[in-house]
Amino acid sequence: MTEPIIELQHVSKRYGDTVVLKDINIELERGKFYTLLGPSGSGKTTILRAIAGFLDVSEGTIMFDGKKINDVPANMRKVNTVFQDYALFPHMNVFDNVAYGLQIQKLKKAEVQTRVEAALKMVRLAGYADREISELSGGQQQRVAIARAIVLEPAVLLLDEPLSALDAKLRKDMQYELRELQERLGITFLFVTHDQEEALALSDEIFVMNDGEVQQSGTPVDIYDEPINHFVADFIGESNIVAGHMLKDFLVEFNGQAFECADAGMRPNEPVEVVLRPEDLDITTIGNGKVSVKVDTQLFRGDYYEIVAYDSAQNEWLIHSTNPAKDGDTVGLTFDAEDIHVMRLNESEEDFDARLESYEDD
């Protein structure tokens, strides 16, 4: 295991009685793309600002390359930030914005020139050096903000919801570019977003935040397939969450029926929540179905139909299907044992990881 470039140990932040960060422990390795994902007010931007040096934490240690940097001022930290509103200096043109950090370092004119041009080329804005900021589109301003940060060759680049102001098409394009840029530069990116699709698409590792706590961390696939609790399951992707009981290992009861599943390590008869992803549900005849539901409404989403249906107990089921259903029809739903994901109530991430390991590797 390589030495982490940034490490947060037991970091807390309070404003008076309001706790915005609770005992955050995060390790970032070199050269990876990390995402802090959570709803607004979950504390993700606070973590970013603490690492950048714009606010002091109430407790805990922030380590950079093995050294404590809690008391190092923002201008001495080897991290750079791409701000949500870009914060490009309106009184300078593109060149001067990108050159700002280099000129502060009093580098030679020729070197500044070369590095600025290289950075602008990197974000595909070569030839825009003489433009004023007000002449640029949102996407171009975004690129200038990135160029201004990467020109300083930071070890870690912090990105605070950088794509939130762009329209959907441009956002998709920028996602590819960001990922490509990160791989080319080989530096650590810490990306803050509330958009789960963005997080899943870009990250090597995601930290899902809520209420100032890291709820779950892991690869996008891990988090999507094995959400730890109701919040994560609900926040990442669409889900059907049903209350049930764990009868014994690999057998769970919900909707009044017992189903085989792929989860284990819980107490017999423990109350649990069961997650079924809408795309894992298949529509079939009532006879072949494990659950019978009545189709209520459906929306055409382009690449799939989103169908809302209700079972006899009036639980809502969300189904993604490539074929349309008929409103008012009663149909059967079928799914495999692996599609069922069982979540314990109030399980800590540590216990969760230990439990998964206990039965997955044998």
Partner: protein, 273 residues
């Protein structure tokens, strides 16, 4: 319907147009008109000739500009840091109110108060007396004139600068720090340039009125400082040479227009495309 609304519009415009006509355009026209007449009522350019050929008036003009300049600089040096501190202060609305408050008091009253404070047996000299320092002459010195003028003008400088700093997005400051700039570098390269419009507005609000100060020159400056304002007053009230007074007035107005032009917002080269 349309007719009625245009009628109402005209009604709303009337007070403004009347005001503009009676108190701005008419006096301006009268001043320009008067400046072409000599004391016995003959149409002439002699007033302008006198103004630009006599050393006294030129000196007076230089004096006026010089004192207005010093007053503006002193005011700016005090106001910018004050506005900056105010921006980060806890109860800034209260502090702001305390700064605005003195402007509600009549100028003359404040001038008389300072006569009391600066006089031989006034507050300042009494205070100095505690340290065994003999009474000093404060009143009727350049120092007291500039001090009192700056005191009166400070609120008009602080307000626009304060507004400028308030409008400055905090993320610019963060961005500058993030890119490695120290606090001072951030100030000179980002904060000051981005609050310059506030400074310019403040300079306009202080420099232009300072050009024509006359009451303070008399009460606090003891007529040692003769500015164009004093000269106009003399011509209109004492020598009754309205033509000459008007000529100086025209010169002052031209000077103001020049200042407005110099401190006004100019288009940046990029936005001309």
């Amino acid at each position: 319907m349309a007719k009625k609304s245009s009628g109402t519009n005209a009604l709303f415009y009337t007070p403004y147009v009347l005001w503009l006509g009676l108190f701005v355009i008419a006096p301006l026209a009268l001043i320009v008109y008067q400046s072409f007449f000599d004391i016995s009522g003959h149409l002439t350019l002699a007033n302008y000739q006198t103004y630009f050929s006599s050393g006294t008036y030129i000196l007076m003009t230089v004096n006026s500009v010089w004192y207005a300049f010093i007053i503006t600089v002193v005011t700016l040096l005090i106001s910018y840091p004050a506005a900056y501190v105010l921006h980060y202060a806890k109860h800034k609305q209260l502090w702001l109110l305390l700064i605005i408050l003195p402007t509600w008091i009549n100028l003359l009253l404040k001038a008389y108060a300072f006569i009391g404070i600066f006089s031989q047996d006034g507050g300042v000299n009494t205070f100095l007396g505690f340290f065994g320092i003999a009474p000093q002459q404060f009143l009727f010195t350049d120092f007291s004139f500039i001090f009192v003028a700056a005191y009166i003008e400070i609120p008009f400088m602080i307000l626009p600068i304060f507004n400028g700093i308030e409008e400055l997005d905090e993320s610019f400051v963060n961005a500058s720090r993030d890119l490695g700039a120290t606090g001072w570098q951030t100030f000179t390269k980002v904060i000051l340039p981005l609050t310059m419009s506030g400074v310019k507005a403040g300079v306009q609000a202080v420099f232009i009125p300072s050009l024509s100060l006359f009451m303070l020159t008399r009460l606090i400056g003891g007529n040692r400082v003769i500015t164009l304002g004093t000269a106009i007053e003399e011509h209109f009230l004492v020598t009754m040479n309205w033509g000459m007074g008007s000529t100086i007035g025209v010169v002052l107005i031209v000077a103001m227009v020049i200042i407005m032009f110099l401190t006004g917002e100019r288009k940046k080269r990029g936005s001309l495309r």
